[in-house]
């Protein structure tokens, strides 16, 4: 058959053409774009270091973070205590390391939790539309319209205070942004032709939602997740300022900074508030840089 011949012939040049031209995968392009942004790379390295500090805290820390030395309080940095001691004579450096664990644990779990809820609700609203969408979005409206601070205070009073509560509270009231974001993505993706194509193939709804649409919405979700990690660290610090953060004696950067927010300490032991403050600053900055780099890396447009 004539047509057949043609198709067979057609192959050759393309083969030559496409095989010599080693294709680039999406991931590779993304990674390359990410590495092009020097700030994000810097941010990434910083995060790795901070996470490393948190993970290896028991091996790095020279002291037990809860060990008090009441005769040596608010000591300035020295050979024994690199970053000095706090108002109960505990080693600030060790506490910073353990504080990293708590701060990162809270932010990672809270972010994972809120993104999961946000994705599921946003995806359902966006994909099914109509009544489902209206109901879920009104629900989101209600939650968003609540003053966060009120919710935080009352929830912290209702539930047992502590790490778990804090995480739950963050999750319960912070998923709404993600839900809106994901809904928007789903709304625009659900009528894209590749989704329609998947439907004509007779694929199951759940598969279409989570295997076809979700991966395409992943970019913005990951970006917002990195940014939220920084946000949660800051929120925890803010709550600590109001006295509602992580319970002592567990150290977190937030409650360390809060404990140092004393006029006397600020003037006479100025180094003490600097360190937790810097850790928060650097870490949040790093996450923001990474998020920013990811935003560009996931941006399909080539710049």
């Amino acid at each position: 058959m004539n047509a057949k011949e043609i198709t067979v012939n057609q192959q050759d040049p393309e083969k030559v053409n496409n095989i010599t031209n080693k294709p680039e995968s999406l991931l590779k392009i993304g990674v390359e774009k990410f590495f092009k942004n020097k700030l994000s790379v810097l941010g990434g390295i910083t995060i790795i270091i901070v996470v490393g500090m948190a993970v290896f805290a028991p091996w790095i820390a020279p002291f037990d973070p809860a060990k008090q030395d009441l005769l040596n309080t608010l000591a300035p940095p020295s050979m024994e205590h690199f970053l000095g001691t706090d108002e109960l004579g505990r080693d600030v450096f060790s506490r910073l390391l353990y504080g990293a664990r708590v701060s990162l644990l809270v932010s990672f779990t809270a972010v994972i939790g809120m993104k999961t809820i946000g994705v599921v609700i946003g995806a359902s609203a966006g994909y099914f539309g109509k009544v489902v969408d209206s109901i879920l979005m009104r629900f989101v409206d209600v939650i968003i319209s609540f003053p966060q601070i009120f919710l935080l205070i009352t929830m912290l009073a209702v539930l047992e205070p502590g790490l778990k509560t804090l995480i739950i509270v963050f999750i319960l009231f912070s998923w709404t942004g993600t839900a809106r974001l994901v809904r928007g993505e789903f709304l625009s993706l659900r009528n894209r032709e590749f989704v329609l194509a998947a439907r004509t193939m007779g694929l199951k709804t759940s598969r279409i939602m989570f295997r076809h649409i979700l991966p395409n919405a992943m970019g913005p979700i990951i970006v917002s997740a990195t940014l939220s990690v920084g946000g949660v660290i800051l929120s925890e610090a803010g709550l600590s300022f109001l006295g509602l953060g992580i319970q002592p004696p567990t150290p977190s950067w937030g409650n360390m900074l809060q404990a140092a927010q004393d006029f006397n300490i600020m003037v006479n032991a100025w180094w003490y508030p600097i360190f937790p403050g810097l850790m928060i600053l650097i870490t949040v900055l790093a996450f923001n840089f990474v998020g920013d780099g990811l935003r560009d890396a996931f941006d399909p447009r080539d710049k």
Binding site: K36, N37, K38, L39, R138, D141, V142, I144, S145, F146, P147, Q148, I149, F150, L151, I153, T154, M155, A157, V158, G177, R180, G230, L234, A237, G238, F241, L242, G254, L257, Q261, F263, M266, V267, P273, G277, I280, L281, I282, V284, L285, N288, F289, D292, R295, R301, K303
Partner: protein
Amino acid sequence: MITYIIRRCLLTIPVLVGISMVSFGIVQLAPGEPTALFIDPEISAEDREAYLEHYGLNDPIPVQYVKWMGQILQGNLGYSLINQGMTVQEMILARLPNTLLLMIVSAIIAFAIAIPIGVYSATKPYTLKDYTFTTFSFLGVATPNFWIGLLAVTFLSVQFGWFPTGGVATLNEPFSIFDRLHHLILPAVVLGTSDMASLTRYSRTSMLDVLDQDYIRTARAKGFKQGKVVYKHGLRNGLIPVITMTGLMLPNFIGGSVIIEKVFNWPGIGLLFIDATFQRDYPLIMGLVMVSALLVVVGNLLADILYAIFDPRIEY
């Protein structure tokens, strides 16, 4: 447009009712009650009972809710339990203007700094200048609010005496705009910096997007210089997503202002909220919840309206 606004407002009623129900529930769930405050002077059991009975705090929650709703429908937010003899309305109204002022000014500051930086970064992406501005704006978002606030008070106000240490106006002095602004600057700047970064990023991304559009090329082809292309043809389009963002940012402003209010001794509703919650002043809490929910709703509405003004493709 007007019918649209009216319809929008009507639509918020169910949302507000939902909010009121949920928050009523949450408020009552919290352990403790207003009399907990009286613990120190050894309030007697009878006094406490009489108190709870008198204010209806012993009723089942649904009954309390219905009573409260009844009051609302009569346009009355009730009386504060703590500041006896004061209505919730007057307590909120005494503070609301301060919060609004702070929010608006800090938003203006955030916009005034963020948008030019975002636009500039977008015209020179991935250059040293872009990176510098990025870092600068991120610094704002990455520093804990209260930390900068306290540092600012300690150094700028106390040590150098450049700014007042707090409050909305100098005591015992006649009203003057300058004085008010002088008090406003530090809190507004500190509050503004935290939103500046995200605004900068949004306007940068949005402008990058816009500058890639065909109509920008058209504008160039018309022979316009860079400045006119960017500001006349680019900026208005680039602002549209930024405006939507602003509407969504409003709840953050209310939440974020609590800390600023505390640090700068700014008598706004954030602090009142904290006090009311800590003291379990139920009517006041509910009033505040409703007011701030309303603010959020109004903010979103405003964003929609601005959206329509900026984007002729949207028609109501």
